[in-house]
Symmetry: C2
Subunit: 400 residues, 2 copies
């Protein structure tokens, strides 16, 4: 079965998270992703936990790539990169703005070698503007981009999203930019430069918060797990965990009350209509807590489902492994790694009928494909020996 | 200036959030997006706040689209849809699985009319598996997909991400699936079916949480705003808000302590190294709180920047409007709407050098382009009158 991007060659100069997550998706879609690593390797190779010396963090976001060690500080390293660029469709990098110019591999320098090249940069703040040179970490981007100010319990602290949504969102937009440029290249025959900023992407995903502020003049605050105007539409604690229920209208409210054997609540003047329930939440919430404290999550969900009330369990990462839907969709699955053995990771959500995303190979060990790629490029064995002896393509010895 | 997807025609059957966010991005990229609405319109048109009767929520995610009212329950409505499908490149829908089959517009029924058609479905749980028919809301997907279990303060409640990340992530992956299928169609000449599930997408963005659990056997928990292993790397309260600092190593720790005039902390045996700071966080945190309670956020950031400590303000949605970087990148900007007037919304992060994303038109009023589109298709004025009289293309009168 072929991939959507078969035949597309990607030069991957990315490290850590946003860039590698982007090139992983290109790899899942069938592109030939050549991950170029400095002799010391992607920093993420040093992030624990480790399995037989291999980083689980690194392995989980670098599948479907080949690894080539190339010292870009050596002029011969840069020459090899330029040869690769001549044959490539896409280059992705996530250095801090200015770094590629220092290394002599900026878009301006590489574009003349291959006018069809699509060169994507993914950075914290973008390549332009007053903050372009600043260091960016996910939490700084989440903080500046507004999402933390609307996440958390009401009246509590602004809260970081537990996944690195600053990096991941930028990764997804970088993929979109690259694929859009590929589509455009079919018409124009030309590549172009793509400048994705993590901060831009955070602003882009705030959906209605900006318009709401613009119209109502009210700064959106954290509202915890409630819906702003539909009640009850929230998480609730059970005997052994949490569930979510979504009682979207008065008819469902009636069914809900009957299901939990509290018909008295249906016409209770405090809770009879959705606006009343929303207004009197402080009185309703303890009643619901007391009701659900009698059920396990499984029991509560069975009762809700039987009554036709939209609901679901609040699952921790361990529980995902046993969810029948997630298993059916192959969204958590083991990948065999030559050194680390079997490692579980997220599958691909890109379910295309003819050319679905797929996991064709585990993450590479540092430089495992250097020789193969150079041989494909026509280098002789003696040239390889020379490049190795001079440290151009040699991985730094790993500390034990 | 042309767009990356100029010449691509998208039939948009989506409502509310995930689907419309996807087609908005296709529109930002220059595709011709024809939003087909039932006579009563996209439900999101009823979500407040309103400006002169127009929903700010709706307007913020439906720019760059034309609106056509079409009653798909009427056979003539379906015939018109099928004519459009013959000329289209992409169809996107986010009904609950099974609905398109009931309406007679499933992929199986439309594909024979246009084998080049890319048909993307975006649903809560996907088109297959035991939960495929279940109702999905963002909070149910966030709960089941694991992200809530790792978001929140340590020891506190699992917390919903304040933006509808369940919908938005699915929207981004749907765009990626569609663009990948367009790339593949250049080689094969064939369209295909795309089945995106919001739950799949939530699992896909957990990054290292799955691998971490798989390797270490420990269920990841909410850890608030701290970094798990680097300290201090967190939010801190100031006199008038919050800031984030990221003290990534012992050298920065020294600079940090000097900057806040607490050189005594540098070699304090509790805080001398990063592992010690991480271990003794409960003692360090109150000291930092007391230090920063003396500064405003602006003062604190000036001190941190002067010392070279990575930092940033925690901004609420109102503050985004004044951030010089966000303004420079045009990520918050006013769009003129013919009825509502000027409405602020998020810009596009898709900064491509030759064919950048752009906002070419505001969100459409219900059915504003019905006639124009039908005339483009060759319908005569008398045919239009007839279709209107029989309610096939007539918007439902708005309640005042």
């Amino acid at each position: 079965m072929s991939g959507s991007l078969n035949g597309i060659k990607v030069i991957d100069l990315t490290r850590v998270l946003a860039g590698p997550f982007c090139t992983m998706i290109l790899g899942d879609l069938g592109a030939d992703v050549i991950k170029i690593e400095a002799p010391e390797g992607d920093e993420a190779r040093n992030f624990g936990p480790f399995v037989k010396g291999e980083s689980a963090y690194f392995m989980s976001i670098n599948r479907n790539k080949r690894s080539m060690v190339l010292n870009l500080k050596d002029p011969r390293g840069r020459e090899i990169l330029k040869e690769l660029v001549r044959q490539a469709d896409v280059l992705v990098e996530n250095f801090r703005p200015g770094t590629t110019a220092k290394l002599g591999i900026s878009y301006e320098e590489l574009y003349p070698l291959n006018p069809r090249l699509i060169y994507a940069s993914c950075s914290g703040f973008g390549q332009t503007g007053p903050y372009r040179g600043r260091p960016a970490y996910d939490i700084i981007i989440q903080a500046m981009g507004g999402i933390m100010s609307i996440t958390g319990q009401p009246g509590g602290e602004p809260t970081r999203v537990g996944a690195s949504i600053g990096d991941i969102t930028a990764a997804l937009f970088t993929v979109i930019g690259i694929l859009a440029a590929l589509a455009e290249r079919e018409r124009s025959g030309k590549g172009q430069y793509i400048d994705i900023s993590m901060l831009d992407c955070q602003v882009a995903i705030l959906e209605n918060a900006i318009a709401r502020y613009s119209v109502a003049g009210e700064v959106p605050k954290p509202i915890g797990n409630r819906h702003p105007s539909i009640t009850p539409f929230t998480t609730l604690r059970t005997r052994d965990g949490y569930i979510v229920i979504a009682v979207g209208n008065d008819n469902l409210w009636r069914k809900f009350c009957e299901a939990v054997k509290r018909p008295d609540l249906i016409d209770d003047p405090r809770f009879k209509t959705n606006p009343l329930r929303t207004q009197n939440w402080d009185e309703l919430y303890p009643i619901l807590c007391s009701i659900f404290s009698e059920y396990t999550s499984e029991e509560a969900l069975a009762v809700m489902e039987a009554a036709g009330v939209p609901c679901g369990p609040l699952q921790d990462v361990g529980q995902l492994f046993h969810d029948p839907q997630i298993r059916h969709r192959e969204m958590v699955l083991p990948i065999e790694h030559p050194v680390a053995g079997s490692l579980w990771m997220a599958g691909t959500p890109l379910k295309l009928s003819r050319t679905p995303g797929k996991i064709a190979r585990p993450a590479p060990t540092l430089g495992q494909d250097t020789y193969a790629i150079l041989r494909e490029m026509g280098y002789s064995e003696s040239q390889l020996k020379e490049l190795e002896a001079e440290g151009v393509i040699t991985p730094k010895a790993k500390k034990e």
